[in-house]
C-alpha cells in the first residue's frame, strides 16, 4: 500500500494570496504557482501543468499521480464559522517535526505559557489513539487539558477537550472545544508544504465560531502561537524526525506522536524522516 511521496496532495499557497506567479519549492523541486484571470495553476520546472485542488482557502497540488481526492473536513463547512487564512510561516525543520509538534499538548505550559497552558496544570491524562485503517488516518480522541486562555474567545481558564487527526503525512487537523458554542468543535489545521526535507512552509488555517474577535485578532493570536512553536522546531536535534525508537524517549503523553511515527513507517513515508541513528 506504499505510495510515492509525489502522489500526495500538498498546500502551495493561499487562494487569497496568489496573484500573477511566484516560484516555490515542493519536495526539493522547483515549481511555479500562479493565477491567470480566475484560474489557479501550478507548473513544474519544465512548464507542465500539475493537478490542482482549491480547498480550505488554499491551493493544493500533487507532483505525481493523485492516489485519490484531497481529504475533506465536513465540520468546517457548517455555517456561521469564521474561516481564517492565517498565512504562512517558514521553518527550518523537517515537515514531519512540524506536524508532530502540532499533535503534542504536553508542551503547552512551557512553550505557550499562560496562553495554552500554565504550571502547575501540566498533567496529560490518558487519551485514545488509533490508526484508522479504513481511512488511513491517525486519530487521537478524548484529549483533555487545562488552558488559561484556550482561544481568543475564551474568558479565563477552562479544561479544553481536543481531537487530533492526521489526514495526510504533512497535514493535521485539530478539533477543539469551542468556548462560545459548547457541543461544537472549532477546527484548527496545520497544512505543511515540504520545501525540502529540512525546510518547510507551514500554512495554518482555522474555521472557528467567534463572533467577537476581528479577523486580524484571530490571525495574530495564531501567529503568536506558531512563532513560539518555531523556537522549538528550529532547535531539535536531529533536524529530521527520528523513526528509530531508540533515538528518543516517549511517554504516555506522546501516544499520538508514537502512532504518527508508526503510521509513517507503515505507509512508507520517509521524506523528512531519519531512519537509523546517526
Amino acid at each position: 500500500m506504499s505510495q510515492s511521496i509525489n502522489d500526495y496532495w500538498y498546500p502551495v499557497g493561499l487562494l487569497s494570496g496568489i496573484d500573477a506567479s511566484r516560484g516555490t519549492l515542493l519536495l526539493g523541486v522547483d515549481i511555479t504557482v500562479g493565477r491567470t484571470g480566475g484560474a489557479f495553476w501550478v507548473k513544474d520546472a519544465a512548464g507542465n501543468a500539475l493537478p490542482t485542488v482549491k480547498r480550505f482557502g488554499h491551493l493544493w497540488t500533487c507532483p505525481g499521480t493523485p492516489s485519490g481526492d484531497l481529504f475533506t473536513i465536513p465540520e468546517a463547512d457548517t455555517p456561521g464559522r469564521q474561516l481564517v487564512d492565517v498565512g504562512s510561516v517558514r521553518v527550518k525543520c523537517s515537515p514531519l517535526r512540524a506536524v508532530e509538534n502540532f499533535l503534542n499538548i504536553a508542551h503547552f505550559p512551557f512553550v505557550h505559557t499562560d496562553i495554552l497552558g500554565a504550571e502547575p496544570h501540566t498533567e496529560v491524562e490518558r487519551y485514545n489513539v488509533d490508526i484508522r485503517e479504513e481511512v488511513n488516518e491517525v486519530w487521537a480522541t478524548k484529549v483533555k487539558f487545562f488552558q488559561p486562555q484556550a482561544a481568543k474567545s475564551a474568558e479565563g481558564g477552562i479544561t479544553t477537550e481536543y481531537m487530533y487527526r492526521v489526514a495526510s503525512p504533512t497535514c493535521a487537523v485539530l478539533y477543539k472545544t469551542c468556548p462560545p458554542r459548547p457541543g461544537e468543535w472549532d477546527v484548527i489545521t496545520l497544512f505543511v508544504q515540504p520545501l525540502n526535507e529540512e525546510w518547510c512552509e507551514v500554512w495554518p488555517w482555522m474555521a472557528l465560531y467567534d463572533d467577537d474577535s476581528t479577523m486580524a485578532e484571530m490571525v495574530s493570536f495564531q501567529q503568536l502561537i506558531f512563532m513560539q512553536d518555531r523556537s522549538i522546531l528550529e532547535n531539535q536535534i536531529p533536524t529530521k524526525l527520528p523513526l528509530d525508537p531508540g533515538m528518543e524517549a516517549p511517554t504516555q503523553a506522546d501516544l499520538t506522536s508514537v502512532a504518527y511515527r508508526r503510521w509513517l513507517k507503515k505507509i512508507g513515508y520517509f521524506y523528512g524522516a531519519q531512519l537509523v541513528a546517526a
Binding site: 504536553a106 512551557f110 512553550v111 504550571e119 498533567e123 536535534i237 524517549a249 516517549p250
Partner: protein
C-alpha cells in the same frame, strides 16, 4: 584520552569565563562537533551537558535552571545534577526510569574559567598561575591555525608571555573559527590587555 585534533591534544577545554554564565542561567557552547549546554545552578555549581534533551531532541541550552536542576523548555523534563531525569510534568506521579538522562561531562572551575573534559581524564586542569581572566575573543581561524601561527603546539593553554604575560585557553570550533579565552598577569590594566588582544587577533586573521 582527551580531545585529539590535528596538530594537538587537549584533556581540558575552556568553554567560557564564569562571569559569562551567571547563577541560574544556561548557555550554548560548542567544542568542535559537540554541542554543550553549560549551566550554573542556584548554589553556583557549573555543569557541562550534551545540548540535547533525550525526550524529543530539544536543545537543553534553551532550558531553565531551578535550584540544582536544569529543565528542558519543550516539555519541562527536569534533570538533577548528575543528568538523571527526575521529573516529567505531563506525568507528575511518575518516577522517571533511570535510563533517561542527559549526557554529562566532567566540568571544573579554575582561574574564573569553566573547563570541560569531553572524555574521562586523570589530567589536572591547566594551571594559569597568578593570571586572571580578561575576556574571550572569537577568531575566524581554526584552533590548529591559531596554534601554528603562534608557532606553538596546540594544547589546552598557549602561553604568549610578553609585557602582559598573556595566556590563551583555546576552545576549538570549526575549520573557520575558534574561541580564545585570555588571561594576563594580575597587575595589568584590563583595558590595555584587551587592546593588545585585539591587535593579536588582527595579526592572526591577517592574510599570510
Amino acid at each position: 584520552m582527551g580531545v585529539g585534533i590535528d596538530g594537538g591534544f587537549m584533556d581540558w577545554v575552556a568553554v567560557g569565563l564564569c562571569a559569562d554564565v551567571p547563577v541560574r542561567t544556561v548557555v550554548p557552547r560548542r567544542v568542535m562537533n559537540t554541542g554543550l549546554a553549560i549551566w550554573c545552578s542556584t548554589a553556583g555549581v557549573f555543569h557541562a551537558w550534551g545540548d540535547r534533551c533525550p525526550h524529543r531532541g530539544m536543545r537543553l541550552s534553551h532550558g531553565f535552571v531551578r535550584g540544582e536542576t536544569l529543565s528542558c523548555i519543550y516539555h519541562g523534563w527536569t534533570y538533577d545534577r548528575d543528568g538523571a531525569c527526575v521529573s516529567i510534568p505531563a506525568h507528575p506521579d511518575l518516577v522517571p526510569p533511570k535510563s533517561i538522562c542527559a549526557a554529562h561531562y566532567d566540568c571544573k572551575v579554575e582561574g574564573e574559567t569553566i573547563w570541560v573534559a569531553l572524555q574521562l581524564t586523570q589530567a589536572p586542569v591547566p594551571d594559569l598561575g597568578a593570571r586572571r581572566a580578561i575576556r574571550s575573543l572569537d577568531v575566524a581561524l581554526s584552533a590548529e591555525t591559531v596554534a601554528a601561527k603562534l608557532d606553538q603546539p596546540l594544547t589546552s593553554v598557549i602561553t604568549i608571555g610578553g609585557l602582559h604575560d598573556i595566556a590563551l585557553a583555546i576552545q576549538p570550533g570549526t575549520d573557520t573559527d575558534c574561541l580564545l579565552h585570555a588571561f594576563a598577569a594580575p597587575d595589568q590594566d584590563r583595558k590595555a590587555v584587551s587592546q593588545a588582544l585585539e591587535y593579536l587577533r588582527n595579526e592572526l586573521e591577517a592574510a599570510e
